[in-house]
């Protein structure tokens, strides 16, 4: 496979432009190396990006926290900015993957891999995160919820890359928070079902992973919960059937996934 190591972002875009077909950007390598082993990647070109300073670090502006796409989970867990402004987000990251993978795995990689079961995405969705997309001479911010368009399909223009994620500092302030990931064991597990939720007296924010072709918000249930003080479980079940499309696979079956999701939803309502 052809390998490139650009010196900086400018060079990255020059290289990327010249490659017409499929290509992979290598960050921490925790997904790509598994895909190489499983022969899902054979001879597509690889562009190494993990050393690019422009995509690293965690910064603050007056209103937001900006997380570079190459930021590893360990950096997120050790960041005083994340601990100060986004304690719920931080606490939810603790059980992602394992300490060994947290060293290498990056937030941008977790999103870019596009797995329906990506751990970080439901959390970012309820925090109303924006994704920063960078191209050679342009940069744009879009809500993460508009980024996914299908299974491993993204709202991404040609030669655009994920530059980072932006979350407002008050994204979780004043909300009751909920995050649960259900898997076969605590560490190193791929979620069968994951539910993230925020609520206050006026609004509800809910997102699920592993239950659709990409992680997404449960808008109909959010609206229903905001409209009533006495949610009925029959109605929730009916809405949930419209919002999620669980599948049966090696990790679980669809009836189990549906029931667990409903149980988590009822648990969330009680908090």
């Amino acid at each position: 496979m052809k390998f490139y190591k650009p010196k900086n972002l400018t060079e990255l875009f020059q290289i990327s432009e010249k490659i017409a077909g499929k290509k992979y950007f290598l960050a921490g390598g925790t997904d790509i190396n598994v895909q190489i082993k499983k022969k899902m990647i054979t001879d597509e070109p690889i562009i190494y990006i993990n050393h690019l300073e422009e995509l690293q670090g965690i910064r603050e502006t007056d209103e937001s926290i900006i997380i570079g796409s190459l930021c590893s989970y360990q950096e997120l867990l050790n960041s005083p900015l994340i601990a100060k402004y986004l304690p719920f987000f931080r606490a939810s990251l603790v059980n992602f993957a394992s300490p060994l993978l947290q060293t290498m795995a990056t937030i941008g990689g977790n999103i870019a891999n596009g797995s329906p079961t990506a751990d970080v995405t439901p959390l970012l969705l309820v925090l109303d995160a924006q994704i920063i997309l960078m191209a050679k001479s342009k940069m744009r911010h879009i809500p993460l919820r508009d980024f996914f368009t299908g299974y491993k399909q993204f709202n991404l223009k040609k030669n655009e890359i994920i530059g980072g994620v932006q979350i407002t500092k008050n994204a979780e302030t004043g909300y009751k928070t909920f995050y649960k990931k259900v898997g076969s064991r605590k560490a190193l597990t791929i979620a069968k079902v994951a539910l993230a939720g925020l609520k206050n007296s006026e609004e509800y924010k809910l997102a699920v992973g592993s239950l659709n072709e990409y992680p997404r918000r449960l808008s109909k249930i959010e609206e229903y919960l905001a409209s009533t003080n006495t949610p009925e479980s029959v109605k929730l079940e009916e809405l949930l059937k419209q919002e999620i499309t669980p599948i049966s696979d090696m990790r679980s079956d669809k009836d189990y996934r549906f029931q667990v999701c409903l149980n988590l939803l009822l648990e969330f309502i009680q908090i």
């Binding site: 390598g29 925790t30 060994l100 605590k186």
Partner: protein, 157 residues
């Protein structure tokens, strides 16, 4: 690419494919066969090494990731005072069964002992959660690391 890095406290360099796995470089190019391959997908921790002082699964690390970094393997840790302390505790507790997972457990345990070292079972379990022992000898492994934490504290008094 020409890869230069620090391996067990010694500067080394070699000509290598930038995508070659660190695991294979250690085993094939340097003969450091303490680092084991089991799952090859980052799930089991048998290939754990320290990269710039932090534990990683070397089956998911490429040559290019190791450039100008410090790599410490189980062989390197076995030469360090805290490594020797851990090995003595594993030995006394009879924690090692088939032994295949053990270099990885040694690396993760060393990282915990060096950087935290509190004799706290929950923390030890979390620190070792990326390593799997299919002989399922976890209790004795936790006991050994706990023992090492206590001994380290005594030594520091």
């Amino acid at each position: 690419m020409k890869l230069e890095f620090i391996l067990n406290d010694k500067a080394v360099s070699l000509e290598v494919d930038p995508m070659k796995r660190l695991l294979d470089i250690l085993r094939e190019d340097f003969g450091l066969t303490g680092t084991k391959e089991s799952c090859g997908e980052g799930e089991c921790g048998a290939c754990t090494v320290l990269l710039d002082g932090k534990p990683v699964t070397s089956c998911l690390v490429n040559a290019v990731h190791a450039e100008n970094k410090q790599v410490v393997t189980s062989e390197g840790i076995a030469q360090k005072p805290l490594g020797k302390l851990l090995i003595a505790c594993f030995d006394e507790t009879n924690a090692v069964q088939c032994g295949f997972c053990f270099p990885g457990f040694l690396v993760s345990s060393y990282y915990y002992l060096k950087n935290d070292g509190e004799p706290n079972l929950e923390k030890i379990k979390t620190a070792l959660s990326g390593n799997i022992c299919r002989c399922t000898g976890y209790q004795k492994i936790f006991d050994s690391v706990m023992m090492a934490c206590h001994r380290k504290q005594e030594q520091e008094k």
